[in-house]
């Protein structure tokens, strides 16, 4: 059953350039029809993984499987994968029509079929009126859609997209995100999407793989990654987070007591709690903090501090609060129900529930000796 639904598997892939490991032992299983995003900062190895799947980069070790069959050594032209390159890589000397027709002509399809399928593909991306233009006569968004049509016209097994929206302005990007998502639902193809933009990854994907320095840190659904980040890096990279370092004390009935900065705080735990005395790191999202002015809040965790800085963005206030116990904290409060009047220097109390926080691991640094 699970065998059947697998589409692409990257198995323990390593790619070294000299002494640098661009990709370091990454394993990914992508199911058929899924929209999976590789998310990570620049240089984390996203493009290299995509290129290895497409066949342009030969992994140093590990395998790429398509429906259980190793395709690691297959040349790119025999893989039947569509790819949208960073910067599109349209053929500058061919019209839009010929760009889109390329894959069909390379396969020697009859002229009538080429004509029909190209027209279909151009319709799909709403570019039919531009068929006879050259790529340089199109806007960035239109070029992006040509690249998409060119990669889809031959019904590939898989569509690979390398930061297809990063060159576009913000408004257009938001529109095309929706279009891409709709397109994915319409064609039912497996999409493997690369971006360094966390909002893009969260809003479009079925699952997101987070990469850091060539390693896969966490792979899961967007909500799961945001709510239950496995490491400090994930919590920090996906949105903002406060971190509290403490020492575990004792657990009872699903909560763990830990000490941090002379306070005793509480953290909900699902499985076995960390042993007493163990150091722990807790991540706390700014929007999960309640901010009150006078009396300490009646939440399980409460910390007092002074507002060091604040800003207003229409939908919410953002407060930077210096606390003696746990250092500087960021809190965001919806503007319409903010119960305090923000002022620099004002004393406030921060409160949160035990299940608002999550225990995360410190990330192993690539620089540390091992």
């Amino acid at each position: 059953m699970s065998e059947l639904r697998q589409s692409v598997v990257v198995q323990r892939m390593v790619k070294r350039y000299g002494r640098v490991a661009a990709v370091d032992d990454v394993t990914l299983e992508i199911e058929r029809g899924e929209f999976v995003t590789l998310l990570g900062p620049s240089g984390s190895g996203k493009t290299t993984i995509l290129m290895a799947i497409a066949g342009f980069v030969q992994p140093t070790s590990g395998d790429i499987l398509l429906d259980g069959r190793a395709i690691t050594r297959l040349p790119p032209e025999r893989r039947n994968f569509g790819m949208v390159f960073q910067g599109y890589a349209l053929f500058p000397h061919m019209t839009v029509f010929e760009n889109v027709a390329f894959a069909l002509r390379a396969r020697g399809r009859p002229g009538e079929e080429v004509q029909r399928k190209v027209v279909e593909a151009l319709d799909l991306v709403q570019l039919s009126p531009y068929a006879q233009r050259l790529p340089r006569q199109l806007s960035g968004g239109q070029q992006q859609r040509v690249a998409l049509a060119r990669a889809l016209v031959f019904t590939p097994h898989l569509l690979l997209l390398d930061e297809p929206l990063s060159a576009l302005d913000k408004k257009l990007r938001a529109d095309l995100q929706l279009e891409l998502k709709a397109l994915h639902e319409r064609v039912g193809l497996t999409f493997l999407y690369v971006t360094h933009d966390q909002d893009e990854a969260l809003s479009m994907s079925d699952r997101v793989a987070i990469l850091r320095e060539g390693k896969l840190v966490q792979f899961g659904r967007p909500r799961e990654l945001y709510e239950r980040p496995a490491t400090r890096f994930v919590a920090d990279f996906l949105g903002k987070s406060n971190f509290i370092a403490g020492t575990a004390q004792g657990g009872d009935g699903g909560t763990l007591a830990y000490s941090a900065g002379g306070l005793t705080l509480r953290q909900a735990v699902a499985g076995a709690p960390p042993a007493p005395g163990a150091p722990i790191l807790v991540a706390l999202r700014p929007e999960k903090i309640a901010v009150v002015a006078d009396t300490p809040p009646d939440t399980a965790n409460a910390v007092a501090g002074r507002i060091a800085q604040w800003s207003y963005s229409g939908t919410h206030f953002q407060l930077l609060v210096d606390t003696p116990a746990v250092g500087r904290m960021i809190a965001t409060v919806p503007a319409w129900r903010c119960r305090i009047e923000p002022a620099t220097g004002a004393t406030v109390h921060l409160g949160w529930d035990p299940d608002a926080t999550v225990i995360v691991a410190e990330d192993a640094s690539a620089d540390s000796p091992h």
Binding site: A54, G55, F56, P75, P76, E77, R79, N80, F81, G82, M83, F85, Q86, G87, A89, L90, F91, P92, H93, F102, A103, R105, A106, R107, R150, A151, F154
Partner: protein, 293 residues
Amino acid sequence: MTAVAATGAHSGRRFFFANERTAYWLMVAPAAVLMAAFYFYPLVEVLWISVTEPKPGLDNYALLFTSASIRRTIVTTLRICTITTAVTIVLGYVVAYVLVHASPRAQRWLFLGVLVPLWISVLVRAFAWVTLLAREGLINTTLRDAGIIEQPLALIWNEFGIVIGMVHYMIPYAVLPLYASMRDIDARTVSAARGLGGSRFYTFRRVFLPQSLPGIIGATVLVFIFSLGFFVTPAILGGGKTLMIAEYISLQILDLLRWGLGTMLASTLVIFIFVLLAALAKVVDLKRLFGAG
């Protein structure tokens, strides 16, 4: 020359001249005067002689259509230049292709290999070919000793020898514009074509080759024009049997003292080249082609 002077004026930080235009013209002036004195004046003089010697009129030009020996020389010249250009472009294309795809380290060595011949006198190179290609030269003696041939091959003192010598001389002039245009090709378009199902060869033919076309056109014109004016190589490797136009002109002027005829042919050559360049300018951007701007 003018291009060098002009960029000099722009790259300078601050000049003492009142404005940039004055500075520009002052810097261009020496070069312009030199060009006028040693280039345009003789050219006009040549044109003038061709319509006045031995008597005023276009009689010299009529010879283009009536003289059998002139027609033969022109046909020979065009044939040799066409073959030379074709062979040079094919070989130069291969060299440029390898250059573009080589690692930066290998590229430095390859470039050296391409450019070093430019610093060796054309005379030396022609005689070097003689020692290789002559009846008792290296190639013939080696082949005979190996028992592959009995009679020496006629590799020299004919058009074959001329083409070899000229191709050798011309290759760097083909490689440079070809390399420049190939370097501008986005390598990802080639990857994209492979990913879309194009085999190596199909991708080369439909994606790489068409994008290198400006370089091919530029190199072709450059090599063809250069080879029209070849003198030393055909004179030595042709052994006096194959007469190309440059040698024919020098023969008319220096040996036969027929100035009118010689200058007429020279003028015709110059006009032909200008027409060629004008036609080319309609197809491609010459400035970009030859690396300016």
